[in-house]
């Protein structure tokens, strides 16, 4: 029982960080119908930036989010502008899958060029600090990371619900043509949306770098998890991806603790398939009247 609860605590804390990465991914899908296979590599890029800031200039990894987030925001905007904007036609979804994969490969190549393939991680002085609460271990980094994810997700929610930009994003998601006719610049929304998605990756990356060892190739594992999360949650549903991330975090942590780590991701993929068997649109993917 003790190990079960411990596993659930861990799973929830980890799930929070994945929720952050996945929310950016699903946001990008919602706006542009682009399955962003580069989301994982953007997280890794964020982690490397944090690493450099920390080792070269001693910037605290949590504080470095203030630098990495805007930086990756710009990267995201640039990527959208240069590589995704030119795509058009009926199969943009499929093309963008490959384009974002190419971006992932390219960034991976750049990172190996700059950093090599050595696994690194970010080790601030408090990296190994943990509390014991009622006999359960709660690591400081994990806890702060979780809270931070909640804060960033909250900000994202506010931006989408309360700002004019958020309204234009939602409008573009729901009816791009109509939004354009009202003066919403779809390219600009897409660029900003992609930037926002990349920014969440940066925030998650800074945290990821403290929790895990990583190298340029780490993005393959990340992206496979992110994809299952966003599909499980229902493509385009941010709330869904948060729930799915928590489900995934807890599921893999519990299976890991009670059975074996070698089956933990497997369990999750199987859960995904079962869910899709019953609900092909994922947990929160909507099927509305008139949609056929």
């Amino acid at each position: 029982m003790h190990s079960l609860i411990q596993a659930v605590i861990l799973g929830v804390l980890t799930g929070g960080v994945y929720a952050l990465m996945a929310s950016g991914q699903t946001l990008i899908f919602g706006i542009m119908k682009v399955v962003n296979l580069a989301q994982g590599v953007l997280v890794v890029l964020g982690a490397y930036l944090t690493y450099t800031l920390f080792t070269q200039w001693g910037v605290d990894p949590f504080l470095s989010i203030l630098i990495t987030t805007p930086l990756l925001f710009l990267v995201g905007v640039g990527v959208q502008w240069a590589l995704l904007r030119p795509l058009h036609g009926d199969d943009v979804a499929q093309l963008s899958l490959l384009v974002t994969f190419a971006i992932a490969l390219g960034v991976e190549g750049l990172l190996s060029f700059a950093y090599g393939a050595t696994l690194t991680n970010v080790q601030p002085s408090y990296a190994n600090f943990s509390w014991t609460i009622l006999g359960y271990q709660v690591s400081l980094v994990r806890f702060v990371a979780f809270v931070l994810s909640l804060v960033v997700l909250g900000l994202l929610y506010l931006i989408l619900q309360r700002t004019k930009f958020g309204r234009s994003v939602r409008a573009t998601v729901q009816n791009p043509m109509s939004a354009q006719l009202l003066g919403v610049n779809a390219n600009r929304v897409s660029a900003l949306g992609f930037g926002l998605g990349a920014a969440t990756a940066a925030a998650a990356g800074s945290v990821f770098g403290m929790l895990n060892s990583f190298n340029p190739g780490s993005h393959y594992d990340l992206i496979s998890r992110l994809l299952t999360i966003v599909v499980l949650g229902g493509l385009g549903s941010i709330g869904g991806s948060v729930v799915a991330a928590l489900v995934m975090g807890v599921a893999s942590s519990v299976v890991s603790a009670l059975a074996s780590p070698i089956w933990s991701d497997f369990t999750f993929f199987v859960v995904l398939l079962l869910v899709l068997l019953i609900r092909p649109r994922g947990l929160f993917g909507a099927r509305t009247r008139g949609a056929l």
């Binding site: 499929q94 093309l95 060029f113 599909v231 493509l235 991701d265 993929f269």
Partner: protein, 346 residues
């Protein structure tokens, strides 16, 4: 859209395969045969993928799972040195049929979803297969990998059987593509790709044709995997179920032109040598991935529909002068005819 076998088409295919058949006999250098074997392997994979990803419009990103299953089937059957020789080649049809049958329920589940989600679900398939390959140690050897008994072929012609096996796989995949296109299966697949709901509504046997395409495609890919395992001699979950193999098949079909007969072949004959060249020319300086990604992006941005369709489109446009006019006339005949003299009402 004409689907008759034209004489030019037959000649093209004949010359292509004749040249490839002759390469080992004429005796190109060893490296050529080796590179060609992998090139033809990818052409066969990509052509097989094209059956479901191109013609049916279901972009499977998990096909390497079947490749891996085929590879493991060979490795498991010929792990000892008891059989060997040509036996692994003779077992290929069994592997192909077995995997095709196995893929039917998998296809049935995953094709409940559409395009984007389907792509992602099939990625999941890839990771499930990889995990199973790691975890079912008793059968697969797990992380220790599994070797195939070395082939007892003479060193001078060692590559030949593998080369010809791959070539036969490519010919088979292309023949099946051709057959699909010319039969009602292809017609039905085209409706599935265009508008699956509507296809249901006009009585198309959607599930049947999708599963036929998926199963045939998976079976072919598994057979190629079987040849590959024997050729490489040692397999390991991450090698046999490598996401890059999936991406390879997809990318090559995209480059040459999805849903075309020659597109995947053309894509493979450009990308595989290019990839090898980049690995050798830039590998040491770490720029290999970047160069590969750049090629990738250039293709997607400038030839989004693939080389063959883009060329065809350009030719079409050149012919548009005459044909376009004819088309307008044809269309005009059914439209309510406008008054020949324009009358202005005031």
């Amino acid at each position: 859209m004409k689907f008759a076998i034209t004489r030019a088409g037959l000649v093209r295919a004949g010359v292509f395969f004749l040249v490839l058949v002759l390469v080992p006999i004429v005796g190109g250098p060893g490296w050529l045969l080796n590179t060609l074997t992998f090139t033809i392997m990818y052409a066969a994979l990509s052509s097989s993928w094209n059956l479901i990803g191109g013609y049916a419009g279901y972009p499977s990103l998990g096909h390497v799972a079947f490749f891996g299953i085929g590879a493991y089937a060979t490795a498991i059957m010929f792990n000892g040195s008891v059989y060997g020789g040509y036996a692994p080649f003779l077992m290929l049809p069994v592997i192909g049929i077995g995997v095709a049958l196995l893929s039917v329920p998998i296809g049935w589940v995953s094709m409940r979803t559409r395009a984007d989600v389907f792509a992602i679900v099939t990625i999941t398939l890839l990771f499930i297969t990889q995990t199973l390959a790691f975890n079912l140690k008793e059968i697969t050897g797990g992380a220790q990998g599994k070797s195939v008994a070395p082939a007892p072929f003479d060193v001078a012609t060692y590559d030949w059987p593998f080369y010809y096996a791959m070539l036969i796989m490519l010919a088979t995949a292309m023949a099946i593509s051709m057959y699909f296109r010319r039969s009602k299966i292809g017609l039905s697949l085209a409706t599935v790709r265009a508008d699956e709901d509507k296809a249901h509504g006009v009585g198309v046997r959607v599930t049947a044709v999708k599963l036929i395409a998926f199963a045939v495609s998976s079976g072919l890919v598994a057979m190629v995997g079987g040849v590959w395992a024997y050729y490489v001699g040692f397999i390991y979950p991450q090698f046999a179920v490598d996401p890059l193999i999936t991406i390879g098949m997809v990318l090559m079909a995209f480059l040459g032109g999805r849903g075309t007969l020659w597109g995947p072949v053309l894509g493979s004959f450009i990308l595989v040598p290019a990839q090898e060249y980049f690995a050798q020319a830039f590998g040491a300086s770490q720029l290999y991935l970047i160069a590969y990604a750049a090629v990738f992006l250039v293709i997607m941005l400038f030839l989004p529909r693939g080389i063959l369709p883009s060329i065809a489109e350009r030719l079409d446009r050149r012919r548009a002068g005459a044909a376009g006019a004819a088309r307008d006339n044809a269309a005009a005949q059914v439209a309510p005819m406008p008054p020949s003299e324009v009358k202005v009402v005031r």
